[in-house]
């Protein structure tokens, strides 16, 4: 006996309900993720084990940020970063070291020093290729057959990401000959290179964050 109308409708609703719920769950998949360039900035610090930072009080800071430049004779992904913010970087590093209680030695060659703080920067560029196009409704890849949907010739998309990294190394030089030199603390900040965005603010926040998450360096107070 053929089922009556209401029963048929009820079964149809029942059959549709399950896939609809599954699709709804898939459509609600989370992940707003980062929405600004600053959201992709990462700051990392590390320290050598068993180091008594209270035993140090004097450091030397070179007046130059070392930029790692690409070798034009080699194919690599290193790019040259502008020196626009070098002075800002050195000033911020010196300011933070002073706030954690270190005195800067301005003539280490004559007076010696307990620590040396090295600052470096490097940029990288990464290019990826993606293929788009093909069949609009991906029902098949047989060209020339009518009724298979619209066919678009494949095209390639290039995505290039440029990243800049700022690194700090706090080095105990050991004896005067450079033997037994040890890196007792290191900080690194990495983010997208984008001259349109507030790069100066991002660099300031990154350097301050390096010292803020390293209270063991000394008597840190919040940078204003």
């Amino acid at each position: 006996m053929r089922a009556n109308g209401p029963a048929r409708i009820r079964r149809s609703v029942q059959r549709m309900a399950m896939p609809i719920v599954v699709l709804m769950a898939a459509g609600c998949y989370p992940g707003n993720g980062p929405t600004n360039v600053e959201d992709l900035d990462v700051v990392l610090t590390t320290r050598a084990p068993d180091v008594d930072f209270n035993s140090y009080s004097i450091y030397a800071l070179p007046d130059t940020v070392v930029h790692i430049r690409p070798n034009i004779d080699e194919v690599n992904d290193i790019i040259e970063l502008p020196r626009t913010y070098d002075e800002l970087i050195l000033d911020l590093v010196a300011e933070n070291m002073e706030k954690v209680g270190y005195a800067r030695e301005l003539d280490p060659e004559s007076n010696g020093t307990e620590l040396v703080l090295l600052v470096g920067a490097v940029g990288t560029k990464r290019t990826s290729w993606y293929m788009g196009g093909g069949w609009w409704d991906w029902w098949g890849y047989y060209p020339g057959y009518p009724g298979w949907g619209w066919y678009y010739p494949p095209y390639f998309e290039e995505v290039t990401i440029e990243q800049g990294s700022l690194v700090l190394f706090l080095l105990d030089p050991g004896d005067q000959g450079g033997n037994d030199a040890q890196v007792i603390w290191a900080g690194a900040a990495r983010g997208l290179v984008d001259t349109r965005v507030r790069s100066g603010t991002r660099i300031t926040n990154a350097i301050n964050q390096m010292f803020e998450q390293s209270p063991y360096l000394g008597s840190y107070s919040t940078i204003q």
Partner: protein
């Protein structure tokens, strides 16, 4: 042979009695549940969150007047976004983090329905599921993501109630504790609170 195989499964699940009688009434239910889920135990170290993105599909067949066997498939999604400093040994990392857990339970279930069955009355049940959980764990920081995907052995004890309805089907309310045993150093647990619809014959 068929009933013997079901009886063997029941014994493994340790929830209902041993054998089905030859006079067991043929009756089955199939349906879906929409769930809220709350992370628990070891999961809270990675994500501590209540999630509204969960769904379950299940089917049950009565093997006795007061017992059923079935299967359950689910998809539970947890995510969290943090802007904090994370310490890993001597390394401290700061930045915007996105964390995700996608859990896919695939369980064989057994349920017990105490009391005398009466038409058009709610029926309480207690049971458990045993099977496997495929769980994806992903952490994103900056332009880097780390993904750890594992298959886990898991169990899911459950209590709930079936609410009969003369319209579309029977309503289902349930609370389930999902526990995925440790695999590759990863252990997961979470609660689900389901509201669903079961239709059957």
């Amino acid at each position: 042979m068929k009933y013997a195989a079901r009886a063997g499964t029941l014994a493994l699940l340790l929830t209902v009695g041993a054998s089905a009688t030859a006079q067991a009434q043929e009756e089955w239910w199939g349906g879906f549940t929409y769930q809220g889920a709350l992370t628990s135990g070891p999961t809270t170290d990675f994500i501590d969150q209540f999630s509204w993105r969960n769904v379950g599909l299940e089917a049950r067949k009565m093997v006795r007047e007061d017992a059923s066997l079935g299967v359950f498939f689910g998809w539970n999604v947890f995510n969290d976004e943090l802007d904090t400093t994370t310490s890993l040994g001597a390394v401290d990392i700061s930045g915007f983090q996105s964390r995700f857990v996608n859990a896919f339970p695939m369980l064989v279930t057994a349920h017990y329905y105490p009391g005398v069955r009466q038409s058009n009355s709610a029926r309480f049940f207690v049971g458990t599921g045993v099977g496997t959980y495929y769980i994806e764990n992903r952490a994103e920081l900056g332009l880097t993501s780390v993904t750890v995907n594992k298959w886990h052995f898991g169990i899911a004890p459950e209590v709930g109630v079936l609410v009969p309805s003369s319209r579309v089907g029977d309503g289902l309310l349930s609370v389930k504790y999902n526990y995925a045993f440790e695999a590759g150093g990863v252990e997961r647990a979470y609660w689900t609170f389901g509201v669903g619809l079961l239709v059957g014959h």
